[in-house]
């Protein structure tokens, strides 16, 4: 029994440690821009802003500027944090549920619309831009940089966590252990 408790406590410690890892870990990425790509991607350049927890929308238009149809186009949004001391590309996993927008084919001269809803996860200064690439090409097209300012929101103790954090274990302990001890004393007597 003691051995099981030791194993359980160790596993709980590992589990708690894994859950407390922040979900917005950043990763490095690089985009090579090409000047001869037939794709043109444009986004409004007005700065975006909001408070952590809100959504902002980034619309984009993707145009095939060549005389030939382009097949299998993928448009993607990229976010880079520019907050002083924390400059790094940001993993968009939690910021956007649908990051890639695909088009089967773009006819010559046609324009398609794409749009990304970004959930503002963490306060700070960012630059966001959209990029598009034909799957068989090695030259992506990147849109203009759009600044994004996210106001941090501290969720300190909303709803008063202390009474719950202290009260629930005590209540659960009393509700479960008291009848056990009462029964033991009752039957012993």
């Amino acid at each position: 029994m003691k051995r099981r408790i030791v194993i359980l406590v160790t596993l709980l410690a590992i589990m708690v440690a894994s859950f407390s890892v922040p979900a917005f870990a950043s990763q490095a990425s690089a985009t090579q821009m090409g000047s001869s790509t037939p794709l043109k991607i444009e986004t409004p350049t007005q700065p975006l802003s909001g408070t952590a927890g809100q959504y902002v929308n980034l619309p984009a238009t993707i145009t095939n500027t060549s005389d030939n149809p382009i097949k299998d186009v993928v448009a993607y949004v990229t976010l880079v944090e520019t907050t002083s001391g924390q400059q790094a590309p940001v993993d968009l996993e939690d910021w956007s549920a649908h990051r890639a927008v695909t088009f089967d084919s773009l006819a010559p001269g046609t324009t398609e619309n794409a749009s990304w809803d970004l959930r503002l996860i963490k306060g700070g200064e960012y630059v966001v831009y959209a990029a598009a690439i034909e799957k068989s090409s090695s030259q992506p097209s990147a849109g203009p940089e759009v600044t994004l300012s996210v106001t941090a929101q501290k969720n300190l103790n909303p709803g008063g966590v202390l009474p719950v954090a202290l009260g629930v274990p005590i209540l659960v302990g009393l509700a479960l252990f008291l009848p056990v001890f009462w029964r033991r004393r009752h039957f012993a007597a």
């Binding site: 596993l11 708690v16 990763q27 503002l120 954090a165 629930v168």
Partner: protein, 261 residues
Amino acid sequence: MNAPTAFVENALRVGLKESKESLYAVRGSMWAVISAIVLSLMSYLLLTDAELSLLDQSEMLYIIASLAVGLGLLVGGILAGDSIAGERERGTLEGLLLAPVGRGPLMLGKIGAIVAAWLLVFAISVPYVLVVGSGTGLSGPALLYTFLLGTLCVAGFTSLTVGISCLASSGRNVTLAALAIFIGMAAPTLLGTVLQNSWFGTIYNASSPFAQVRLSLDSVIVDREGLAVQLPHLGALVAFVVLAGAFAAIAARRISLEGSQ
């Protein structure tokens, strides 16, 4: 009384007896208190630490909901490990097998009692979900999906572990096997984002029921996506329950007083 009614009644009788035994013993109640303490520590840390409080509230809610299911699996694994192999070790299996109850109701009752322990963990997690999700409007969906996904995942995991418990001779071995399976199921959460997006991570996530739970909770709570997006996750968990249940049913036919090494 027809056969299905008798089957259900016997299963309920066994389940009720097992639940009472578990709750009336300090051992059974201890898991519930430990679960409450772990949830208290995590929610207090999330809502009072200056750095962690910068996390979006939906992220916090997702962490608490996932933690509740993780605790349910842990408790389920420990209790299921002891279910048949423990009876064998204590010398009470023979009496149990001689009881006028078929193997099917016996297994269903044992599994049901462990799922009831998960329901207790879920009930304990409700105030934490409510307080962490306060003001977001996400507490309701978070509770609904935690209950639904957690119940399926715990039922499957419990069936698998009870099946192993039927075949093994030592409760300790079954508990260790259950913990190893639990770690295996939870391991995708430790993979980095890049690795999770690779073919390896995709296959691992698809084959891990706990990863399905976390992906679905993330989709519901963080990305606020609807039921249609959750159907593949729910389908995978239902398939897990069916397969694990089939394994438990086959293993129940092979219960012996000695067990195998």
